[in-house]
């Protein structure tokens, strides 16, 4: 009798399931890294090969802490950052288990070039994830991107301003995210399944460096995170008003 793995089959390959289980929707899903969020998402994770919209009150403020746990599971496949508002800092990405060499930063002078690049990246499907920041996008372009996404297995996130929440969108999953004191607050605007009205709070653990400063005397928690920059005096007051 061969050894039968007790591992759930979906861990072996996303397209496998036992006959006793329910088949999930088409396409793969990647765990978001937050258990509370996984419970709320169809397929228990971020959909691969679909357009996912993330709406933000201010671009660049919350999307990466939401997405980084998922991005670190891509097994070294490339991550494309397309037209971000600011300069991405490779070392900050490296701290969360990504290799800097995974990142590709694409700048475009024209909006049409950016849309073209999205289609090329999705069609090629050699990249693990595509993050696209845009300030304004027409609905026919959105529909086209959604179609392009369906032909690939790439995680595709579109970052837009919160004001776009009122506009219709073909994306099957739309979230709005903002930072809170303890982490992130999500509103699921649209998903396949029953709607959810109440906001979802995600707890993002504080970096040990900040935690140690906010809670003096509990630095022990921080020791397993390696040595901190030597230039820092953790006892010094942060700011003394003149």
């Amino acid at each position: 009798m061969p050894y039968v793995s007790s591992l759930p089959p979906e861990h072996i390959h996303p397209a496998l399931w036992r006959a006793s289980q329910l088949a999930r929707g088409q396409g793969g899903y990647l765990s978001s890294g937050y258990a509370e969020l996984n419970n709320e998402l169809p397929g228990n994770g971020w959909p691969q090969g679909q357009l996912t919209e993330i709406l933000l009150p201010q671009i660049g403020t919350a999307e990466l802490s939401l997405l980084k746990p998922a991005l670190s599971q891509l097994d070294g496949r490339p991550i494309v950052l397309l037209t971000p508002t600011y300069i991405p800092q490779a070392l900050a990405f490296a701290c969360t288990g990504l290799q800097p060499s995974q990142l590709i930063w694409i700048r475009c002078n024209k909006h049409v070039d950016a849309l073209w690049a999205v289609e090329q990246v999705l069609r090629n499907s050699s990249c693990g994830a595509l993050l696209f920041w845009t300030s304004s996008i027409r609905s026919e372009a959105l529909r086209r991107l959604h179609l392009a996404a369906q032909s690939s297995e790439t995680l595709f996130f579109l970052m837009r301003d919160m004001r776009a929440a009122q506009q219709a969108s073909p994306a099957p999953l739309r979230l709005s995210v903002q930072a809170t004191q303890y982490g992130l607050e999500l509103n699921i605007l649209k998903r396949r399944g029953s709607p959810r009205d109440a906001p979802l709070a995600l707890h993002v653990p504080d970096h040990p460096y900040l935690y140690a400063y906010a809670h003096p005397g509990k630095e022990k928690l921080a020791t397993n995170y390696g040595n901190l920059p030597s230039t820092v005096d953790s006892r010094a007051p942060a700011f003394t008003p003149a």
């Binding site: 496949r77 800092q89 701290c95 690049a117 460096y209």
Partner: protein, 503 residues
């Protein structure tokens, strides 16, 4: 080893004499009445000339009477030879065994290529598509004997370019019997004699007594006949591609839009593909020149180079690179010619066909994507990180183009020291307002970290003396701000700057 039954495809270019001057790639020239003349007589003519009543062998004066504004071209054997070579080079894609035959024909032994290209019909379609891309009207014939395929291709009319095909040897003679006798080259000077003895098709010819026929018509006719029926073997001299690939093409007109050059670039590309297939090579560097006006007002040619990170021989990828490159190009004057040269090649690597393809596509696919992005967006806009070991954040965060060699990967422990850096940096630090002695950005900023002093760069002009803090605003967004220590806090100069945002 399985030996394949022999099968030949013959490609006949009935209008080659004319098409070296007037290419059907240019639609507007098709309506023009045009003829080629050799020693004062018409040797080839366009379809509209045919409709105007012009016939082969007419004199130039006769053409003038039938169509006043006809175009005349003097037949150019040299050009025809070059064109045939170009076609043969392109056909090397489909088989390494290509040879020339009489009357502007090219024979290709495809018996070993059938399963690779998905059967005879798919292959014939591809051959015809290649001919269309090259800009020649072509008819094809397929038979198990080279000479028979050649006869069938010549027999195919202009209206029905997909000539007859015979796959089985035992059906061959039945099909050949009906062909007119004038198709044989050796029968051309004997047309009147053969007509006089009521010999119209090959069957009639075969029924004649051989010794008498040989005495009256020569041996060549009999040899040709026997070769067609597969009764006598034929020796072919295979076409060998030149060791280097450098092809110049003259355009039929002056072209000013870069996009319309693509039709002609495709024709060059088809030759390139055949050449690469024959040599079993993959290309890594292509050089292209667009030739402009020559002579007194000579303009230097526009040149561009395509460097491929991953050696390539696939049509689709090369074509999309050409497309992006040409659509980007701004022409300063009309183009009259094109030159394609292969500068660098490597031996082709055999592809491994895994049973279960990897879900992310192969690494080659990724390199192809990057090349395509670079071709349109420019190499400075597709970047990969190359971090420097430096304390200054804006210098440490260095990005280089993806086509450059990537830096060696950082060891994990080297990254651990930079535990807390913002995800985003501002291109230029933004001076912050001060409200009640505190930095202010949208709302009051609260500092949540101790100072991190960065003092570096004294060895060149870019000295930085800064105390970095992490600050939180009213909406819980974390910023990376610094206090410039060189600036006096009591003066008007800004002291606090915003440098980064934690995502």
């Amino acid at each position: 080893m399985v030996t394949c039954p022999p099968l030949w495809i013959a490609v006949h270019l009935p209008l080659l004499q004319l098409e070296v001057f007037v290419t059907p790639l240019f639609a507007r020239q098709e309506m023009q009445v045009s003829v080629t003349l050799h020693q004062g007589r018409v040797t080839s003519m366009s379809e509209s000339a045919d409709q105007a009543g012009i016939r082969l062998g007419m004199r130039a004066g006769g053409v003038q009477m039938l169509s006043a504004n006809a175009d005349y071209y003097q037949r150019d054997h040299n050009k025809e030879k070059l064109a045939l070579q170009a076609v043969a080079t392109a056909l090397l894609q489909y088989s390494p065994q290509v040879c020339f035959a009489e009357d502007d024909c090219i024979l290709v032994d495809i018996s070993a290529s059938l399963s690779l290209f998905g059967g005879i019909r798919a292959l014939r379609k591809r051959v015809q598509e290649s001919m269309r891309i090259l800009g020649y009207t072509a008819t094809t014939g397929i038979a198990p004997v080279a000479r028979a395929a050649w006869l069938l291709a010549k027999q195919a009319s202009r209206k029905l370019p997909r000539g007859q095909h015979v796959f089985k040897l035992n059906r061959l003679s039945q099909r050949l019997d009906r062909l007119p006798v004038k198709l044989l080259t050796a029968a051309e000077p004997l047309t009147e004699l053969l007509q006089g003895i009521a010999c119209y098709n090959l069957r009639d010819l075969r029924q004649l007594p051989r010794p008498g026929l040989q005495r009256r018509c020569g041996k060549a006719l009999l040899i040709e006949l026997d070769q067609a029926y597969g009764e006598q073997a034929e020796v072919h001299e295979w076409y060998l591609a030149a060791p280097e690939f450098k092809v110049k093409m003259e355009l039929p007109d002056r072209i000013e839009q870069a996009e319309s050059l693509l039709i002609f670039a495709r024709s060059l590309l088809a030759q390139l593909l055949g050449w690469l297939a024959a040599q079993q090579l993959a290309v890594t560097h292509i050089h292209m020149e667009l030739l402009h006006e020559r002579g007194r007002q000579a303009i230097p040619p526009t040149m561009f180079d395509l460097h491929l990170a991953q050696a390539c021989w696939q049509e689709s990828h090369l074509l999309s690179l050409f497309k992006e490159k040409l659509s980007q190009l701004k022409l300063h004057s009309a183009v009259i010619g094109m030159l394609l040269e292969v500068k660098q090649t490597i031996v082709r690597e055999a592809q491994s066909y895994t049973l279960f393809p990897e879900p992310g596509g192969q690494e080659n696919e990724h390199k192809r994507l990057l090349e395509l992005l670079v071709a349109r967006l420019g190499e400075d806009n597709v970047l990969q990180p190359a971090p420097h070991a430096d304390h200054r954040a804006d210098i440490a965060n260095h990005w280089i183009s993806v086509i450059k060699k990537p830096p060696p990967p950082c060891p994990a422990h080297a990254l651990a020291g930079y535990a807390l850096r913002p995800n985003w940096l501002l291109p230029q630090p933004l001076a912050l307002d001060i409200h009640e002695h505190r930095p202010y950005y949208g709302s009051e900023l609260k500092l949540v970290s101790p100072a991190e002093r960065i003092e570096s760069g004294w060895w060149n002009e870019q000295i930085q003396t800064r105390d970095y803090y992490i600050a939180v605003d009213r909406r819980h967004v974390r910023y990376w701000i610094y206090r410039e220590r060189a600036n006096d806090p009591d003066s008007e100069e800004p002291v606090w700057f915003l440098h980064g945002i934690f995502g």
